[in-house]
Amino acid sequence: MTTVVEVRDLSKHFGPVRAVESVSFRLEENRIYGLLGRNGAGKTTLMSLLTGQEFASSGRIEIFGESPVENARVLEQVCFIKESQKYPDDFKVKHVLRTAPWFFPNWDQDFADQLVTDFRLPLDGRMKKISRGQFSAVGVVVGLASRAPLTFFDEPYLGLDAVARQLFYDRLLEDYSEHPRTIVLSTHLIDEVSDLLEHVLLIDDGRLIVDQAADDLRGSATTVVGGREAVEAFIGTREVLHRDGLGGLASVTVARLSDTERQAARAAGLELGGVSLQQLVVRLTSGTPTDFEEKSA
């Protein structure tokens, strides 16, 4: 297993605000990772630290075995276009697409041209004036065409309509299959992206609370639904992730159940349901369901 990113006890505070708190993890080569969490959980700060744009308060970062800070060698192999990226005044889309290739050794111009057509980017549009969706699309095009061995997509869907999103998934998967690299998708919209992920890193209030394979997470929790008493009787002393109820009905989320446990539940007349990645994340973090939904423009 080749480790491309290693982070140990990384912390960053802005005065009293602890944006990233003692985070440790490893990223292996050629996988699609999800860096998930609410807005303000610390995702962008973490990525800024990994790309040397922000300075850590404490802890260690190694990208391709070296510290990324002021390290041209490493940074040429990384692509991180922030969701809040600033551009010079009067910079147009065509200027971004003209300048980006200079900085990324693996840039594929044909692929970039194809993506510009696919996403219908207005080449003469000013970065300050184009829509949020078009702005995101520019980031997507640069991120994909850069073919950087380590690529971060920071909230790539913001403002993208359904068609553009599908396009993004398709192009991403297609290119990832042909040119495997390490990709980190960072977003608060989990349902959108969950099928693409191989591994999940969940950040909440600056702390890393989940670092697991996506498939392990799907099905790692179960909802038990039925009459309140029957449900409580079945649950017993199990750890409860979430309780919900309506009148005499109860719906309780617990950890994974074994096959025998599942049969016992059914025998007791209870219904079992799965828990999606998004629902699981909502349960595990301090957030509410709306934190992980698209805000209407």
Partner: protein
Amino acid sequence: MTTSTLPAVATARPLPRRLGNVIRLHLANPFTILVTPLMVLGLIFLINWVIWLLVRTATPTDPDTVADVSTGLQYSGASMWTFVYMMVVAIMAMNLTFSLALGFGSTRRDFSLGTAVTFLGLSAGWALLYTGLAMVEKATNGWGLGGAMFNSFYFGIDESWGVRLFNAFVAFLFFFAIGTVFGAIYVRFRARGLILFFLALALVLIGLVALATVTASWGAFAEFFVAIGWFGGYALSLPLSLVAGVAGHLILRRATPRS
């Protein structure tokens, strides 16, 4: 337990290439940095030209009066506008172009160096343009109207072309340099830091003026400048520019492109 072997990372591309990228990035949208200031300069020239025309038609045509008027016009500060514009260019570059360069993976060191080269080049370019236009102005006797915009007193009207070229170059460099410092302070310390800086600067300047007044050394001050002449005077700004440039770089070293 997994043993981690790291993929071999290619060596960084050579320094000139990386600096070249930063330089190209500054010039990527030539409108801001070249076209607009040139257009403004052209506009100012046109306005001046109209004024000269009016003045010429209004004044009596005897040679003495004409020469008198021409001399008066040499105190025109019309061409100064570009200096201020370049200072603003430098301030914006420290904020927005810096942010983009880092977004594209450039290091702060490469950005500082590349920006320095860019500003040196731009200073040289503008200086050549200004001096060239001054030559044309002189050759055409003030554009046929006795006007003076580039042959301005402020560049040293009696000096050689070489000296005037140097003066213009150094002047442009100075404005780029102070723009760099202002911009760097803003990026690192934000609006509050910039305000504090200007307050401190104002205090220092006021202090110096007070000192000069109290010690009645204005006379000596003036004599000094007469002694070193135009060339010396302009050359004095070089160390200031250097200090400003270095200060800008040092400030940027810990700056982040935070919005």
